[in-house]
């Protein structure tokens, strides 16, 4: 437990001290959101209709492109080999890293969502729903990112393979996330919310085992 806490704090400190990473993440999120209005024109009603989709695609891309952060540095400096032989199971370490990844990417994305909301013409209730949907969905995204990061950690040129690999698997998150912000006349949005929460819980619970297996193979 003590060792796990040390790893949590270490990763949190490392993440916060490299402030540039956080800035890049937020810039990417906002830039993708801004690209769409430039592409389709300043049509406010249309943008408001597309807003859920834009927010989710931006969040998805921003989180997917942060995969290098999870295990790469530990793989390069050899910490990962130490983790293999640590007294704590590797699965628990992966879970800790997953939690930190969510704190360092999921939460900042939610904090930046109001900016996108203003620019895309979302009203307050829509913003609330967007934040709730992101709260439920970003843990699943972090889990998928951890999966792709663990699979590609041994690759020198893993940069583009990881997002390409994991993108099809994140489709349910996108579908339920955007569905949760959609029309709720037949209870579809609340249903999507339940599915999204289930997806997050299941993927956070199962990812540590799969990712630890991949990390063990990569470290062999």
């Amino acid at each position: 437990m003590k060792g796990l806490k040390a790893i949590l704090l270490r990763d949190l400190r490392l993440g916060l001290r490299q402030g540039g990473d956080l800035l890049t993440l937020l810039l990417l999120f906002i830039s993708v959101g801004i690209l769409v209005p430039f592409a389709i024109g300043p049509d406010t009603p249309l943008l408001a209709r597309l807003a859920p989709a834009i927010v989710w695609v931006a969040a998805l891309l921003a989180q997917l492109l942060t995969h290098d952060r999870l295990f790469r540095a530990d793989f390069e400096d050899g910490s990962l080999i130490a983790f293999h032989h640590a007294a704590i199971p590797l699965e628990a370490i992966v879970l800790a890293k997953l939690a930190i990844h969510w704190i360092l990417t999921g939460l900042p994305l939610m904090a930046a969502t109001p900016f996108l909301a203003v620019m895309l013409g979302m009203d307050m209730t829509m913003l609330g729903r967007a934040l709730f949907a992101l709260l439920l969905g970003t843990p699943a995204l972090s889990a998928f990112v951890a999966l792709s990061a663990s699979v590609t950690v041994g690759l020198k040129r893993g940069g583009l393979v990881a997002p390409v690999l994991i993108l099809p698997l994140t489709l349910p998150v996108l579908i339920f996330g955007a569905g949760m912000m959609g029309d709720d006349t037949f209870g579809a949005a609340s249903q999507a919310g339940l599915f999204l929460a289930a997806l997050s819980l299941a993927s956070v619970a199962l990812t540590p085992f799969a990712a630890a297996l991949a990390l063990r193979v990569s470290g062999e």
């Binding site: 041994g154 393979v161 390409v164 993108l167 349910p172 249903q191 599915f195």
Partner: protein, 258 residues
């Protein structure tokens, strides 16, 4: 060097399957008969499909597209099941031929999935009036194609094929868990955005005069798949052998330490 103890007993079936050299030996005798069987099955299937079956009363002759489309769609899923079984073989038993089987299957899976999508698009044009419809089944097949292509990209990203096999195996298992979830979410999404009217083929029953050529063509395509898979596996074993010979030669030529 210690003496290798010679065993005179016949190798068991598992060794025969697992040992690349023995595999090359016994599979050589299967390739030609399998090719023959596949050709015969195609001859019968194509005859039944073109002359032995009636045109559909609604779709006319375009119904014959089904005899290519359905087997391809079946193989696109069968191939993933095969890769899943091979991935377990790789991870649990470190079976060398399971690695080769996984690697040989991925492009075939992508090919048959693409064929299913392509024939579906060609079929959709006269019957639905559009090449592409965001139909639940088509969309999940498209996602399956993306997963196959991702797996091929992952294979290519590694230099060390032994490590690649185990990593790809982990990813194949992850994909196998996710495919039903993706299928479910796409179906949910599709019912949410139900388009006005989409022609549906899956009626309660299929007439036997259509079912017979369909089954014949499915058998023919399955035999073709097995043949292609076997040939690709043989090629992969030979490729690895050539590579290790080249490496040994390069080492000898440079005079490097072994």
């Amino acid at each position: 060097m210690s003496e290798v103890k010679q065993t005179h007993s016949e190798p068991g079936w598992f060794t025969r399957l697992a040992h690349p050299g023995l595999f090359l030996g016994w599979s050589r005798h299967i390739v030609i008969p399998l090719a023959g069987l596949s050709t015969i099955a195609f001859a019968i299937g194509l005859y039944l499909a073109f002359w032995g079956s009636p045109a559909d009363y609604q779709m006319g002759d375009t119904v014959r597209m089904m005899y290519v489309h359905v087997p391809a769609a079946w193989l696109s899923q069968f191939c993933y099941a095969l890769m899943f079984a091979s991935a377990i073989g790789t991870l649990v038993w470190r079976h060398p031929m399971a690695d080769v089987s996984q690697k040989a299957a991925a492009p075939l899976g992508a090919l048959f999935t693409a064929l299913a999508l392509f024939t579906g698009a060609l079929w959709g044009r006269p019957t639905w009036g559009t090449y592409w419809e965001w139909d639940g089944r088509m969309t999940s097949t498209l996602v399956l194609l993306l997963i196959y292509l991702g797996i091929i990209a992952l294979w290519r990203a590694f230099d060390d094929q032994l490590k690649a096999a185990r990593i790809v195996a982990v990813f194949t298992l992850i994909g196998a868990v996710n495919i039903p979830i993706i299928k479910f979410s796409v179906d949910w999404w599709h019912t949410l955005h139900q388009p006005a009217s989409v022609f549906r083929l899956d009626g309660p029953t299929i007439a036997p005069e259509i079912l017979t050529p369909l089954l014949a063509m499915t058998l023919a395509f399955s035999l073709l798949f097995m043949l292609l898979h076997l040939v690709r596996m043989r090629t992969e074993v030979r490729k690895r052998r050539v590579r290790s010979l080249e490496l040994a030669q390069a080492r000898a030529a440079k005079g490097a330490r072994p």
